[in-house]
């Protein structure tokens, strides 16, 4: 205690400040470089003292260089399901975030204020529920001090995360479909994929045009925040297309038996059945049960994200189904980037990429463009710049818009791709580019 103790020493430490520490680091690095040069010029390795000093300074210099590099890394937090039924979406999202970060690094990094920054993706498992979403928010914001969320999945966990990000000036990207998480009240929140608001109307219009005999439709949704919001939008879209919604039912996410739900749907004898936001594997099981019960009609999964899970569980019963959020990768229009990423993802995930995962790649590209436009890495400044920039997304040139729908431009504008299962294969039947992109001359 007479010497002030360790407490006094620790209390003194912050007085050096960050700038002083950086200056010392730079001096050490310079010294290291000088000694390295001296060693090369004089070629006198026989002096052990000099060799040891050189080695020490190289080590210190190397460490300093590493510290400098770490200081120029921007962490992108990810709140995604990495276990349970949604694990593949989360793992795919994390992998695409890493790929985008690597692509940005290859292209020279993010150049802001004369410095070059690199992205690093940090993912935590939100288990697709609100409680774990809150835990992930705590880890990302309090422990990792993340100031940019590169992607978050699931309306319930995203709501838990958003309660903190907006208050603590953290920019949040999300692929959650709920419309309730967007708007002028949430200026730091941005959606990086098409949601039912973007998909529903054009998809239903296309399905109705292709199948004019449809007069009635029955809806089925998972009974959670995502399903409840999707149902309202789907109901309006079918009504707008002149189709009567004869029933709308719910099921618990995680259900393994769909016979009762299918029996109820079949009993409605509707011309079409829309499974709205049901995951592909669940949708396949419902279509299989419907086929077993003899129902034959038009099959739609508005936010159907992929054919692999659908066909895996539904088999031939899924033939003809329309999907609103799936992508084909074997057509001539597939770009080298799309092919490279899809091939890589198939090796890791065992299935093709879907729109949910792709959003994680696009968010990184959007962030790079906005940071360079704003010449700042402050979330508020980047959020202001985001609606002003255009960038190369997975789908081509893209930007943010959607002010007419949400009250503020927070929606990434990417094409709505209508696909259909034909002969067991996913085929693109329509690609509807957002009118706003054309009007702004982005595409």
């Amino acid at each position: 205690m007479e010497y002030g103790g360790f407490g006094a020493l620790v209390e003194d430490m912050p007085k050096y400040g960050t700038l002083e520490s950086m200056a010392l680091t730079e001096q050490a690095a310079n010294l290291s470089n000088e000694h390295h040069t001296t060693y090369k010029e004089t070629t006198m390795p026989s002096n052990p003292t000099r060799t040891l000093l050189t080695a020490f300074l190289v080590a210190v210099g190397g460490g300093a260089a590493l510290n400098t590099a770490a200081a120029e890394t921007i962490k992108l937090g990810l709140s995604v399901p990495l276990s349970g039924a949604g694990a593949n979406w989360g793992k795919g999202g994390e992998w695409l975030c890493q790929q985008a970060a690597a692509d940005v690094a290859k292209a020279g990094g993010v150049k802001v204020g004369g410095k070059v920054y690199q992205f690093e993706c940090v993912a935590y498992d939100n288990k697709y529920n609100a409680a774990d979403g809150a835990r992930v928010a705590q880890a990302l914001l309090s422990k990792d001090k993340v100031r940019f969320i590169g992607g978050s999945l699931g309306t319930a966990p995203v709501r838990a995360l958003q309660t903190r990000t907006e208050r603590e000036d953290v920019l949040l990207f999300t692929v959650a479909w709920g419309a309730s998480i967007k708007g002028p009240k949430f200026p730091l929140t941005f959606t990086q994929m098409n949601t039912p608001n973007e998909i529903s109307l054009p998809l239903v219009r296309h399905v109705k045009q292709a199948n004019p005999a449809i007069k009635t439709v029955a809806l089925l949704n998972p009974n959670d925040a995502t399903g409840q919001e999707t149902e309202q939008i789907a109901r309006k879209a079918w009504a707008a297309a002149g189709v009567t919604v004869v029933s709308s039912d719910w099921y618990e996410r995680g259900t393994s038996e769909f016979q009762p739900a299918a029996a109820k749907l079949a009993a409605q004898k509707s011309d079409a059945i829309d499974l709205c936001s049901s995951p592909p594997a669940d949708s396949g099981l419902v279509f299989k049960e419907l086929a077993d019960m003899g129902w034959k009609g038009v099959k739609v999964v508005q936010v159907g994200t992929g054919a692999d899970g659908l066909v895996a569980t539904g088999g031939p019963a899924t033939e003809g189904a329309y999907l609103g959020a799936a992508i084909t990768f074997d057509g001539p229009a597939t770009s080298p980037l799309q092919r490279r990423l899809n091939d890589g993802a198939r090796g890791i995930l065992g299935e093709s990429l879907n729109a949910v995962q792709i959003g994680f790649y696009d968010a990184v590209m959007a962030l790079k463009a906005a940071m360079e436009k704003a010449q700042s890495i402050e979330p508020a400044a980047v959020a202001k710049a985001l609606p002003q920039v255009s960038f190369d997304s997975f789908y081509g040139r893209s930007a943010f818009g959607g002010k007419d729908t949400y009250g503020s431009p927070q929606q990434m504008l990417v094409p709505v791709i209508v696909t259909q299962l034909q002969g067991g294969k996913l085929v693109e039947v329509a690609r509807l580019a957002p009118a706003e992109l054309r009007e702004r001359g982005v595409q």
């Binding site: 276990s83 349970g84 039924a85 694990a87 593949n88 793992k91 009974n223 039912d249 719910w250 099921y251 618990e252 995680g254 259900t255 393994s256 038996e257 769909f258 016979q259 009762p260 739900a261 029996a263 109820k264 009993a267 592909p280 594997a281 669940d282 396949g284 099981l285 077993d292 019960m293 003899g294 692999d308 899970g309 066909v311 895996a312 569980t313 088999g315 995930l349 065992g350 299935e351």
Partner: protein
Amino acid sequence: MQTLLQLLFTTLQIGAVVVLFALGLTLIFGVLRIVNFAHGQFFTLSALTVAVAVPALVQHGLPVPWAYVLACLAGVAVATAVGMLVYELGFRRLERDMVGSFILSAGVVLLFEGLFLEVFGGAVRPVPPLLDGHVTLGGLSISAQRLLLCGMALTLTLALGWLLSRTRFGRSLRAVAIDHEAAMLQGVPYRSVAMRGFLVATLIGAVAGALTAPITAVSPTLGDAYLVKGFIAVIIGGLGSVAGAIVGSLFIAFIESFGGFYLDSSSATLATFVLVMLVLLVRPKGLLGHG
């Protein structure tokens, strides 16, 4: 009338899988006095093995029925072997220890879910149907695959009933379940009976997983939904009671089927939990429970 028949048959189809699952849970509880929450992992492992093996064997030129038989045998063998490993390393040391076994089985669930995700990946695996087409019974169109599953479930349940009532091993199991100390005084080798009881229970769960593979979404989390249903079924029927497990399973299936049709699937799930509470209020040991 047609709808009623359809719903009754749906009850039997759903009940068939839940019965097989619940029988395993109740057997383990009866003999070891533990609740094995990891039972669903052996069910899942068997289904995943079938999902991997069937397409691989078919690709090597084996006809689908033979591929299916071999894959089922492999699935059941792998899951049972892993089950026995877990028993030897863990549950054997925690017999009749409810708290210890609860913690162990919860840990095993997390461990296996993570392992399955790493080994098999998170994607849903397609399993070709063993039987294609439909059978028309009383004006009802029924999937041949589902009908086969019902038949297998009935056969297994009857076989288990015979095993318990007509064999020396079965009588030992029942004696241990009623009073293990009295059984030991009568010369019943408790350790051996407990080990074989766990083996039979895991085997039944593995068979259920293998049979369910072609009609469900096979993924690392497959067992979770069945675990909840199976657990509710044995609580309603009475922990440790074989007849109770069957009654409880059919009760669950009935609510799921009729509730799902006349209300919706979500309300049916809610109704199941409400009815469990009511049953436990009236009969705290379950409908046929005695322990």
